[in-house]
Amino acid sequence: MSDRVPDCTVFLDGSAVRAVAGEPVAVGLWAAGVRVLSRSVKYHRPRAAFCLAGHCGACLMRIDGQPNVKACQTALREGQRIEHQNSWPAGEHDLLGAADAVFPRGMDHHTMFTSPRAANALLRKMVHRLGGLGRLPERGGELAALPSGRRRKVDVAVIGAGPAGLAAALTCAQDGKRSVVVYDEQDRPGGSLLSHPRFGIAAADALAAEARAVGVELRCHAAAIAWYPEDDGGLLAIDDGGVLTKLTARRYIYATGSYDVNALFENNDRPGIWAARAVGLLATRYRVKLAGRTAILGDGAYAHALAEALASAGSNVEHLASERVLRARGRLWVSGLDLEGGRRVRCDRVAVAAVPAPASELARQHGAAVELRAKGGGFACLVDGRGATRVDQVYACGDVCGFVGVEAARAHGHSVGRAVAESLA
């Protein structure tokens, strides 16, 4: 199954590690046996990649002199210098992790040692010293490198190149009457298709090719960062490969998908506990061999698809569809789960398939109404039958309107794309 051949050498805290160039740092290090990528800010709890999508912040490392870089969003390349942050003396060995043991119920530094004054002064000094995460960047100073940004006008801007966004874009562009551009923060189009064992890269590439064939422009490594209503009469700021694009469109379609969320149990932040879609990415996109045993939590369609795919690839799977997990075991890496009722499950990783949270904040900033879905992971964007939000010209489709999964998101994208095309006819 695995065609991964290490072809480059990177340096982790100075030691050489063999890796596959182009893979994310977080994936390469994990495949090479590195377990702890970072430490939490306050209690120095060990952390490793959870989402592999750039959304959870559990994988921040210092890479080539830049602090707080997402290791899951940075491609490995020959000679790269990768360093652990916020641990002392280094990496997996962090004596400050004692904070976690000393304060098992947490500590509120805001109300600690408010008197006497000498103790307070000492506390302030200590907290100040421990504050912050990465060290100041090594580089900097290229004033000329501060780009001024470029203006861009299109007919339809689609944010998110997952199944919903690609479907909306291609339907909208089909008659060749309007310019359609899709922006995605990831390094390739596909969104949640990429992590789905029944779809994967092939399906993503096919849909992207279909879109390109009707004239859709696909831009990756391009994150929409904010809607600014007051600048130039309203513009969408896009970090397009490090250059600012100030975009205005006649129609905006938010197809930003959903964020992976964790399940609630003790020590749910242990390294080795991944979002199910991250495990899907490891298996489907990065083709890493999943040695040992994978515990899958959740009863949704995705959990079942993942369990099936891993099992048929010969992996050892324990699917816990409805059991309640009390706590995770293992100190630096998960070694098992304690379930309600006393049962104990041994595992080498956990894939949490909780209902993902709609990635609705950008659409909301653009004026869309949202609604809290208590069982739907978070705030869903409210749209009518045509995908229109309450703001003129602003549409949304797919998981951002409430988690529906790959196939339904794609269907929604098609129908919203059609509606948007009609609105411009």
Binding site: N68, T111, N120, R124, G140, E230
Partner: protein, 383 residues
Amino acid sequence: MSLPRETDVLIVGGGVMGLGIAYHLAKNGVRDVVVLERSYLNYGASGRNGGGVRMQWSTETNIRLMQESIELCKRFAGELKINIWLRQGGYLFLARAEAERARMERNIALQNRCGVPTRLISPAEAKRIVPELEVSELVCAAHNPRDGIVFPWPFLWGYANQAAARGVAICPFTSVERIVPTGAGFRVQTSRGEVRAQRIVNAAGAWSPEVAKLVGIELPNRPHRHEILSTEPLKPFLKPMVSLLSSGLYFSQSMRGEIVTGISVEDHDDGHVKMGSRLQFLTKVARELVRVMPRLSQVKVLRQWAGPYDVSPDGNPIVGEAPSVPGFYLCCGFVGHGFMMAPVVTKYYGEFLAGSARPAFFDPWRPTRFAEGTLVKEEMILG
């Protein structure tokens, strides 16, 4: 919190001023106090500011008050049982033009007379304090090592919790909509019903002109949007708050390690409070910041936001009883420095309302000075 029907003192505004006054009233025995806040506590400037505290001012009143305010900050944790994370890393004002040197020298002389150890220093010395500074464009700098920064939110927790513990009714999500003077006090209509009050304190910050209008008073202060941003957290490296006099740029490193920076940007000041964020600000502040701190060019911005400055015509606050409406007290017009003033101002204001002597600063900051034409201009306003 259910809304009391009657009270001695009704405070409009749940920012640092309103809550601080409420605490000091209760501490001095006046517990029949209600604080009404239209939104959540600290919704206005108090929950959006940069936390800078300094003694470097151009008027003696401000210098002396801030000396005392910083002393009070040092005692805050002991008294209010909450850490405000005061860090006296100093304030470093940078000058790019020769014309600014004379002004700096004048202000430093006044500050020194008041006992503030500010010094005029060379660009090279400024670079010793902040090695990452680009000093080639600078002519001189002013440095007071005793200035510093605080973390604003614990002030709210301290004042509100301690006031509530002493019986003050703190009512968020309650807005004041109409005020009817009755001769022996006021009938105040709110979004949650009516309250009768003997006295009212208008501590509504940038909204204070609107609130004053409810009793027919025209205040001269106007809201002005001020934008600010915060970066990713970095290990502590920057000691002082640094500010450029020519552009009004300022930046410091927070307790959590973020670089917090702001600058003023042109706006249409039309009397309405605006709190939207603009790309224009982000671009401007990034350019100005990197010009003096090139090493920050790769640092990532995490969030930007805006809050309202409460700008008075001479840059000084408006405090005391409104001459035309007895029983209606003003505590507003603090421009962009009301947070640092709150510990000292609210202490004396609260004590005064509880029966102590009229504080000395009530004189220079009296509301009638605008009509009289006796303004005292404060020069050291940023943004």
